[in-house]
């Protein structure tokens, strides 16, 4: 299985990585105390790790080639297991009910702390589903998604501070404002090709954050806005624990609403137009789809969800500042969409839960969280660009009539 040549290759890879990481991993200097620390054990870890990894990658590719060779004849697209289950109403309804029951009982089964974490994870589910409309379905890579999230959060914070508006009034306003900003951004940039669009949206996200940071009269600068009121519940004053549960249920409601809307959208006329746009813009225009309108719809609908979640974020933490809306936040949401499978709703939900909950529970690993997110983006693109659960297109089959008129 392992010819000597391959082992030599892996050895070379491990020496290369030991060399590559030498200054940064091995040497650590303290320029004030003038002490040099040599961390040779790191070099050994890197060498062994890269040796093993290079062998594993090699094995993976050899297997893949063999599989491709043996299966060349039968290229049947097999649906992912999860989708096959979801297609069957027999499994689908009980599964949905079980999930719903678990979600509803969650605050009663677990502590307030756990509920809080779950709320965060569910907020990311909604964010992921929103970005999924833009990136996964319409194929527009948006790296400034967090800007819309910031618009939602700040619109609640500011309206609450200046005019004393309540949560329920601002929730739709925040969403609509974000959608409006989405349209404003969308108009000029829609002519741009994929990678330019990505950079412009990234620049736009940074501009929003920098303005929030520097425009002290408007947003109170880096210190942010505190004492944002929690949502009211028919005028009752809720205790701390009760209000956390209340926000949790709110988010569960929002998740269900989002799943419903996004699911309906995907099979709608608009959803199919988005898919077509993603695949081939020119062919799509030739079919008579209004490119500008379709893209703007994707942008503003994606932004709408971010705005809603932004409002909820502001009310959950009762504090917003620009540091919550950095590029890394956009990158996390993008990782969720990419890991879960672009375009697949179930995939995005699982991706969000995995990426947000795992680092929370594996505290020891939380330091390596962003490292892992970066690695996930690269690894997914190379090995499984379609994500954990790939989206399956609805296929329409033409059934041949068993007719005799062809003779």
């Amino acid at each position: 299985m392992f010819p000597v040549k391959e082992l030599k290759r892996s050895l070379f890879v491990s020496i290369w990585f030991a060399f590559l990481t030498f200054p940064i991993m091995v040497i650590k200097v303290d320029s004030i105390e003038r002490i040099v620390t040599w961390r040779w054990n790191n070099m050994i870890f890197i060498a062994i790790g890269s040796f093993v990894l290079s062998i594993l990658v090699k094995v993976y590719f050899v297997r893949k080639e063999r599989r491709a060779a043996s299966k060349k004849a039968q290229t049947v697209l097999t649906e992912p297991f999860v989708h096959r289950i979801l297609r069957e109403p027999r499994f689908l309804y009980p599964l949905c009910l079980a999930c719903l029951a678990f979600a509803l009982l969650f605050p009663h089964l677990f502590s307030t702390y756990q509920t809080n974490i779950m709320t965060t994870a569910l907020m990311y589910v909604v964010l992921g589903l929103g970005l999924n409309i833009v990136v996964g379905v319409a194929g527009l890579l948006d790296l400034g998604y967090v800007a819309f999230y910031a618009v939602g959060a700040y619109s609640y914070a500011l309206l609450n501070m200046h005019f004393g508006l309540g949560f329920w009034v601002v929730l739709p306003i925040g969403g609509l404002l974000a959608a409006f900003v989405g349209i404003l951004l969308g108009f000029p940039v829609l002519r741009l090709r994929g990678d330019y669009l990505a950079i412009v949206t990234l620049g736009f996200g940074e501009i929003i954050r920098l303005v929030l940071e520097n425009w002290n009269d408007f947003s109170q600068g880096p210190s942010g806005i505190s004492n944002i009121s929690r949502p009211g519940f028919f005028g009752m004053d809720l205790s701390f624990a009760a209000s956390i549960n209340y926000i949790y249920y709110l988010v569960v409601g929002l998740v269900i609403f989002t799943i419903f809307v996004v699911n309906r959208l995907q099979n709608s006329r608009l959803g199919r137009a988005w898919l077509a746009l993603r695949e081939d813009e020119i062919a799509c225009q030739a079919m008579g789809i209004d490119k500008t309108k379709t893209k703007l719809m994707a942008f503003s609908l994606g932004a709408f969800w971010a705005g809603l979640v932004g409002v909820i974020f502001a009310t959950k933490t009762t504090f917003v500042n620009p540091a919550s809306f950095t590029f890394l936040e956009s990158a996390i949401i993008l990782s969720i969409v990419v890991l879960g499978g672009m375009g697949s709703i179930v995939g995005v939900i699982l991706g969000a839960l995995a990426l947000i909950l795992l680092p929370e529970y594996l505290r020891a690993l939380s330091e390596y969280r962003m490292l892992a997110f970066g690695a996930i983006l690269v690894i997914m693109m190379i090995f499984k660009p379609e994500g954990l659960i790939s989206n399956v297109r609805r296929r329409y089959r033409f059934k041949q009539q068993p007719s005799s008129e062809s003779e």
């Binding site: 990481t21 741009l192 920098l210 990158a331 962003m370 970066g374 690269v378 660009p385």
Partner: protein, 300 residues
């Protein structure tokens, strides 16, 4: 007037550093049509490598000149090694993938490298040793133009000259130009395209590393996050000049550096980065082909 000249030189210095980074973007884009998002991180790694090497050498008591030369060489060597490795791991397998795949992979690589340096070194700002001495002959104008400004300008000019010679008159330069014009055709006439791409990454990364070392010594501090902003700004410069065009990258960088310098000097220093990003958005909207770039027409 003094203030104006100070801003002018400040802008030129900034612009030269942007140019050193922007060349990497524009060369890679010219050859494989990819925005190498991790390029800013290469620059950051160059700054860190030169910081580590320079500090170690100064602790062991080397003379200043030796420190500068060895640190610059080390930064260039390791940054090029990172550049080539990134290309092999993250971009080469995706050469025939849909357009967005390599871009997402590049973003992942950028986040990965930032956090790799954060975890392996530190998240604090490190004070970078002053590698450039104050020259005696600069004394009369030192309040307007510092010695490090001068060194940066001269170094950049020399590097540009070397790069021009390399691209115009050497075999590998010719191969690069051929590959960027038409990759398939270049393969047909016997150019080893993989090697050309690797060479591009080596040159681009080495330039960025030199830029990283110069600016770190000029400003005096570094941290793991410097690559992000510098990368975006250099990209802006490359787009401003027309991405894919080497003189365009230099011109765009100087324009961007001067704009920023004058805008922060006369308008407000709070919005320094906003100016650059707004400029980027405006160019991409109104003249996506840039100052010196050719407008592409897409045939179906």
């Amino acid at each position: 007037m003094d203030y104006f000249i100070e801003l002018l030189f400040g802008g030129l210095t900034r612009g030269s550093i942007y140019a050193l980074i922007a060349l990497g973007y524009t060369m890679v884009y010219g050859i494989i049509g990819l925005i190498n998002f991790a390029h800013g991180e290469i620059y950051m790694i160059g700054a860190f490598t030169s910081f580590i090497v320079a500090t170690v050498l100064s602790i062991y008591g080397f003379p200043l000149l030796a420190i500068v030369v060895i640190a610059a060489l080390a930064a260039a060597v390791w940054s090029s090694a990172y550049g080539v490795t990134i290309e092999k791991i993250a971009y080469r397998p995706l050469r025939h993938a849909p357009r967005l795949s390599p871009l997402i992979s590049a973003i992942g690589m950028s986040i990965f490298l930032q956090n790799y340096v954060l975890l392996a070194q530190t998240s604090d700002f490190l004070s970078f040793p002053a590698l450039i001495p104050e020259f005696a002959f600069m004394e009369p104008v030192a309040h307007i133009v510092g010695s490090s400004d001068l060194v940066i300008l001269v170094t950049t000019a020399l590097v540009m000259l070397a790069l021009t010679v390399l691209i115009k008159f050497t075999r590998i330069g010719k191969a690069m130009r051929a590959t960027s014009q038409d990759r398939t055709m270049a393969m047909l006439v016997g150019i080893n395209v993989d090697r050309v791409i690797s060479a591009t990454f080596v040159i681009g990364s080495a330039l960025a590393a030199i830029g990283g070392m110069l600016i770190a010594s000029h400003i005096g501090q570094i941290n793991f996050y410097i690559g992000f902003i510098a990368g975006i700004k250099a990209f802006t410069a490359a787009v401003l000049g027309g991405i894919g065009s080497i003189p365009g990258a230099v011109l765009g960088s100087l324009v961007l550096g001067l704009t920023e310098s004058f805008a922060t000097g006369y308008v407000s220093s709070d919005y320094e980065d906003v100016f650059a990003f707004s400029l980027l958005v405006l160019i991409l909207i109104f003249k996506p082909s840039g100052l010196l770039g050719k407008a592409e027409t897409k045939k179906v």
